[in-house]
Subunit: 90 residues, 4 copies
Amino acid sequence: MLHDDQDAREDHAVGGIAADRLRSIIERVERLEEERKALSGDIKDIFSEAKSAGFDVKVIRQIIRIRKQEPAEVEELETLLQIYKRALGM
Amino acid sequence: MLHDDQDAREDHAVGGIAADRLRSIIERVERLEEERKALSGDIKDIFSEAKSAGFDVKVIRQIIRIRKQEPAEVEELETLLQIYKRALGM
Amino acid sequence: MLHDDQDAREDHAVGGIAADRLRSIIERVERLEEERKALSGDIKDIFSEAKSAGFDVKVIRQIIRIRKQEPAEVEELETLLQIYKRALGM
Amino acid sequence: MLHDDQDAREDHAVGGIAADRLRSIIERVERLEEERKALSGDIKDIFSEAKSAGFDVKVIRQIIRIRKQEPAEVEELETLLQIYKRALGM
DNA sequence: CGTGCTACAGCATAGC
DNA sequence: GCTATGCTGTAGCACG
């Protein structure tokens, strides 16, 4: 029967190759997310250690943030330079 | 001299052990954040692959979310949702 | 000189009409963004009120989301979710 | 009966007062979200106008972003000053 | 039309 | 327990 054949093909697509593919995708993502979570845990541990050593965690976070932003700021300045050049028709 | 010793100790605290400790903390965190960012990139790549293979990424995300939750929790939210819907005549 | 004329015209463009136009654009956008931010604050306040009244904010958000979507769309995503779940034997 | 009374009160809570409260919350949020969306539309219109006038929208966005960040940067510098004072035991 | 990017909102967590 | 903050996910927008 056509209808059954369609179902069979669809089921196959779902239960066979594509399902394997889907499962693979999901499991790989879940694995990577676990690793990512583990790294977050490691980071958290370091901050705990820092706190125990008497550092101000909030301030350390800010330093890290600033260190990250600096390259961006360089780029921003560069862009602003371009803006002004453009405004001057250079 | 005591004063010099104090200065030495203070300088030491800033330029030596504590400063080194601080630097170590910051660099380790930065390193871990980089790794974490790399993992996020990997995850993104898998979703791109999934999309190319014809899967609906949003739905896959939803499945991963569900798999992460406790079944009881899912049930509870669902129940509450039904209650609210009823209250609104939906 | 042609070059001076160009400079003159360009300077005018920067210091005169175009610059004013640019300033106007920026200030109008900033004003609208402020208003938008204020509305976000109002929304947040309502959710705080809801929480205080014993409602589950997350569920309320979900209801609002559902009400925004086309019923057909909801159905479609749900169907796809079921297909994927079946494929995974969930 | 106490049990019935409880049920009555609970039912009332769902179908009566609380339901009204819930509906009110939802409708107010939806209204505010609409207004917010309208503002986003207005902003978009201004950018369209800017583009038509020959401005580079991306650059304008960046200028707005920078104008927003500047106060934050002042605060960051202040915080850094505190950090260094702290590092020096002042 | 699709794809990548930016920016915004929601969620979770950690600190007070 | 609530508030504040940072991270993640989603959605809208610009570009090819």
